[in-house]
C-alpha cells in the first residue's frame, strides 16, 4: 500500500511528485510510460551540415513513414509529433484512450514524461490577471514558480513582458535571436513607445531551454535539431522523472493504464490494466493525485462513477497562425545557426477584443522545407524556389486567445468506452487583427488577413477545465486545494482543475499548481 499514488508522469505528475519528495514522501507514480524505442542514430552538430553529409531518411521520415504524415493524411497534424524520434509521444493513444471527436482534434500522450517530450518549453509564470477566476492567489503559487525555475533552468529576461510573465528572478540569460527576430526586436526597441500606446509589448520568451550550461546539462547549440530528437538543453518532464527514479525518491511503475478508483474506509483501490497484456492489476493507496492530462483525468473520473450521462466542459486556447515575411530578407541565405522554436513573444492588450492575447514569434528553420510544399500559390518548381528564397525571410506568429474566447467543448463517456468530445463550430474573426498586422509591419514583418490560418480546435494542446476548482464545488468540480468533490482522498493535480485558461502556454502554471495541490494533499 502506497501512502500517495500519482497517475501520470507528464509535467503535472512530475511536479506533484517533486512537491511530495520535498516533504520527505516517496510516492508511487503509475504511468503507461512509453519511451523512445526508434532506432534512429543520434545526430551531433548542426542539422543542415548533417543533411549535406548523410541521408536523413531515418531522422526525418522513418521506415513507418511517420514523417510523411502531413503528405499522406488528409487531416492536419502537428509537424513535430510526426518525427520518428517523437512517435513514442503519441504511441497507441488511439487504442488506449479511444475518442469520438466532433470539430476537436485532441493530442494525447501515454509516454513517460507525457506531451512535454515534444513541447516547445515555453514556460510562463502566471500573474494576477491570469488568476481572475481561480480560487487561488498568486502568493500561494509564487514559491513553487521559484522552485521550478531552479529545477528547470529557464532563460529569459526582465523586459516589457515582465508585467505579463511575472518575476524574472532566477532566469538564465535569454537565448540568441535569429537574424530575422533580431531585426524585428531592434525595430521594436526603436518604435516601442508608439507600439506600447496601442497595447503592444514585445520581449524575450521564458523558455526551459538552457542558454548556458546548467545543472549538468549543456547550453543550446543552435543546431536546429529541436524538431528531430530530444535535445539535452531543452527541459522536459522526463528529465525530472529520470532524476527522481535514479535517486529512488519515487516508486515508478510504468506499463500501467489506470481505469478507475474505489474509495474504501481506510484508503482507496485503483483498478488498472497492464498496457502490454491487458491483464487487470490493482493498487491500494492512501491518497490519489490525478495527473493524467485534463482529458484522461476526466475519463478516469467518469469511469470511476460509471457515468454515461454527465457532460463535462473542456477548455482549450483558440489559436491563429499568422505567416510573416521580412521583405529585406528575401533571397538571404537560411539562418542555419538558429534556435528553431520561439524567438520572441508579443502581448497585445487589445481594446477591440477586450482581452489580452499572446503571440509567439516562431522561427521556421527547424521543420523540413517540404513542410511548406503547396503553401505558396506557385507551381511545384515555384514552391521549391520559394522554399529557397522566401522561407529564409519568413517567421510564423502563433496567436493565443484565452479559453473564454470560444464556448467550451463537451466531454462525455460513451457506452462503448470511448470518450466523446464535441466542440461547437467556431470561426475566429481575422478582420479584427488589423491593428496587430499594422504593428507587425512596423517591426518589418508583413502579412495579410487572408493568409491567417485557424488550425482545428485542439491544436494548441492546452486542454483544461474538465473538473474545475471552485470555492463551493459541485459534482465533478474541485475544492481550491484540488480535492475532488464527493471524494475524501482524490486530488486533481493537472489542468483539469483550471476554471479558466489564460492566453498563455499553460504548463508552467499547471506545474506550480500541481505542486501546491500535492503539498495540500500531503498536509491534509
Amino acid at each position: 500500500m502506497a501512502e500517495f499514488i500519482i497517475v501520470g508522469s507528464g509535467a503535472a505528475g512530475v511536479a506533484a511528485a517533486l512537491a511530495l519528495v520535498h516533504r520527505g514522501i516517496r510516492p508511487m507514480l503509475l504511468d503507461a510510460g512509453f519511451v523512445n524505442a526508434a532506432a534512429v542514430p543520434r545526430v551531433h552538430g548542426n542539422l543542415y551540415d548533417y543533411r549535406r553529409r548523410r541521408d536523413s531518411f531515418d531522422l526525418h521520415i522513418g521506415t513507418e513513414l511517420g514523417g510523411l504524415r502531413a503528405a499522406l493524411d488528409t487531416e492536419q497534424s502537428v509537424a513535430k509529433l510526426n518525427a520518428p524520434n517523437m512517435a513514442f509521444v503519441t504511441r497507441n493513444a488511439g487504442q488506449l484512450a479511444p475518442l469520438e471527436q466532433t470539430r476537436f482534434h485532441a493530442v494525447q500522450s501515454f509516454a513517460a514524461g507525457g506531451l512535454g517530450n515534444a513541447w516547445g518549453a515555453g514556460l510562463y509564470r502566471w500573474v494576477e490577471e491570469d488568476l481572475d477566476s481561480f480560487p487561488v492567489s498568486l502568493e500561494q503559487l509564487d514559491p513553487y514558480f521559484d522552485l521550478l525555475t531552479r529545477e528547470i533552468g529557464i532563460s529569459g529576461q526582465d523586459d516589457d513582458l515582465s508585467p505579463f510573465f511575472g518575476s524574472a528572478a532566477g532566469l538564465l540569460p535569454p537565448l540568441n535571436l535569429s537574424y530575422n527576430a533580431r531585426l524585428a526586436f531592434d525595430r521594436y526597441l526603436r518604435t516601442r513607445d508608439t507600439l506600447r500606446r496601442s497595447g503592444i509589448n514585445m520581449g524575450y520568451p521564458r523558455v526551459g531551454v538552457l542558454s548556458v550550461p546548467y545543472d549538468g546539462r549543456p547550453a543550446c547549440d543552435y543546431s536546429n535539431l529541436e524538431f528531430w530528437q530530444s535535445q539535452p538543453y531543452i527541459y522536459t518532464p522526463a528529465i525530472t522523472l529520470q532524476k527522481l527514479v535514479s535517486r529512488d525518491q519515487i516508486d515508478y511503475q510504468p506499463g500501467v493504464l489506470v481505469e478507475s478508483w474505489r474509495e474504501t474506509n481506510d484508503g482507496l483501490t485503483l483498478l488498472a490494466a497492464d498496457v502490454e497484456t491487458g491483464e487487470s492489476v490493482q493498487f491500494t493507496g492512501g491518497t490519489l493525485l490525478l495527473a493524467a492530462g485534463a482529458i484522461n483525468t476526466a475519463r478516469i473520473a467518469l469511469q470511476s462513477r460509471r457515468d454515461l450521462s454527465t457532460r463535462l466542459p473542456l477548455l482549450e486556447n483558440p489559436i491563429l497562425q499568422i505567416p510573416l515575411i521580412a521583405p529585406h530578407s528575401v533571397g538571404r541565405r537560411l539562418d542555419t545557426q538558429a534556435f528553431g522554436l520561439v524567438q520572441l513573444n508579443l502581448v497585445w492588450q487589445s481594446a477591440g477584443h477586450g482581452m489580452t492575447l499572446q503571440g509567439s514569434l516562431i522561427e521556421l528553420t527547424a521543420p523540413m522545407r517540404a513542410e511548406f510544399f503547396g503553401r505558396f500559390p506557385l507551381s511545384a518548381r515555384g514552391n521549391l524556389a520559394a522554399m529557397r528564397v522566401l522561407l529564409p525571410a519568413m517567421m510564423m506568429m502563433q496567436l493565443y486567445y484565452p479559453g473564454s474566447a470560444q464556448p467550451p467543448a463537451e466531454l462525455s463517456l460513451s457506452p462503448n468506452g470511448r470518450l466523446r468530445i464535441v466542440a461547437p463550430p467556431h470561426d475566429m474573426d481575422r478582420a479584427s487583427l488589423a491593428p496587430l498586422l499594422k504593428a507587425l509591419r512596423m517591426l518589418g514583418l508583413w502579412s495579410h488577413a487572408a493568409l491567417i490560418q485557424q488550425p482545428p480546435t485542439g491544436h494548441a494542446i492546452h486542454y483544461a477545465g474538465t473538473l474545475p476548482m471552485r470555492t463551493q464545488p459541485g459534482a465533478y468540480q474541485c475544492y481550491p486545494d484540488g480535492r475532488l468533490h464527493g471524494t475524501r482522498r482524490v486530488f486533481v493535480a493537472d489542468s483539469a482543475s483550471f476554471p479558466t485558461l489564460p492566453a498563455k502556454n499553460m504548463s508552467f502554471g499547471m506545474m506550480a499548481n500541481a505542486m501546491r495541490i500535492a503539498t495540500a494533499a500531503a498536509i491534509s
Binding site: 543542415y48 543533411r51 549535406r52 553529409r53 548523410r54 541521408d55 536523413s56 531518411f57 531522422l59 526525418h60 521520415i61 513513414l65 514523417g67 510523411l68 502531413a70 503528405a71 499522406l72 488528409t74 529585406h328 528575401v330 533571397g331 538571404r332 541565405r333 537560411l334 542555419t336 523540413m368 522545407r369 517540404a370 510544399f373 503547396g374 500559390p377 506557385l378 507551381s379 511545384a380 518548381r381 515555384g382 514552391n383 521549391l384 524556389a385 520559394a386 522554399m387 529557397r388 528564397v389 522566401l390 529564409p392
Partner: protein
C-alpha cells in the same frame, strides 16, 4: 477494375516535374512505398484522374498547380508533397531546398520568373483538368 497509375512511371514523372532529370533508385523505392499508402486510401475518381494524366504523359506540374489552386485533385498534390519530403532527405538534393548565399536581387528575380511560369502552367493545367473531366 480500379484504374491506377504504374507506380514506377508515376515516380519518374513526378520527379521530373519537380527536379528534372532521372529519379535516383533509392528515391524511387521510397516513393513507391509512400504512393502505395496514398493510393490505399484515395478515392477511385482521383486515382483514375491521376492515372489518366500519367497515361497521357501530361504535364503533371501544370495539372498539380491547377488542381491545388482550384481545390481539386488533392491526391496529386499529396503525391508531389511526398516526393518533395523524400527528396529533401538526400544529401545531393539539398541545393533544391536551401540557399547558402544571399542575394536579394537574385531572390526577387527567381520569384518573378517563377511567377510568370506559374501563370503559363496554370492556364495549361486548367485545360488539362478539363480534358480529364471529359475523359
Amino acid at each position: 477494375m480500379l484504374k491506377q497509375a504504374n507506380p514506377d512511371v508515376e515516380a519518374r514523372l513526378i520527379y521530373r516535374a519537380l527536379f528534372g532529370g532521372t529519379i535516383p533508385d533509392i528515391l524511387a523505392r521510397r516513393y513507391r512505398q509512400a504512393a502505395h499508402q496514398l493510393d490505399r486510401t484515395a478515392e477511385a475518381s482521383e486515382l483514375a484522374a491521376v492515372a489518366h494524366l500519367i497515361d497521357q504523359n501530361a504535364d503533371l506540374e501544370a495539372a498539380e498547380l491547377a488542381g491545388r489552386l482550384t481545390g481539386r485533385l488533392s491526391l496529386l498534390t499529396r503525391k508531389f508533397a511526398a516526393m518533395t519530403y523524400l527528396a529533401e532527405t538526400l544529401p545531393d538534393h539539398q541545393r533544391y531546398f536551401v540557399t547558402h548565399r544571399s542575394s536579394l536581387v537574385a531572390g526577387v528575380m527567381v520569384l518573378g520568373w517563377n511567377g510568370l511560369l506559374t501563370a503559363v502552367k496554370l492556364a495549361h493545367g486548367l485545360w488539362l483538368l478539363r480534358s480529364v473531366r471529359r475523359g
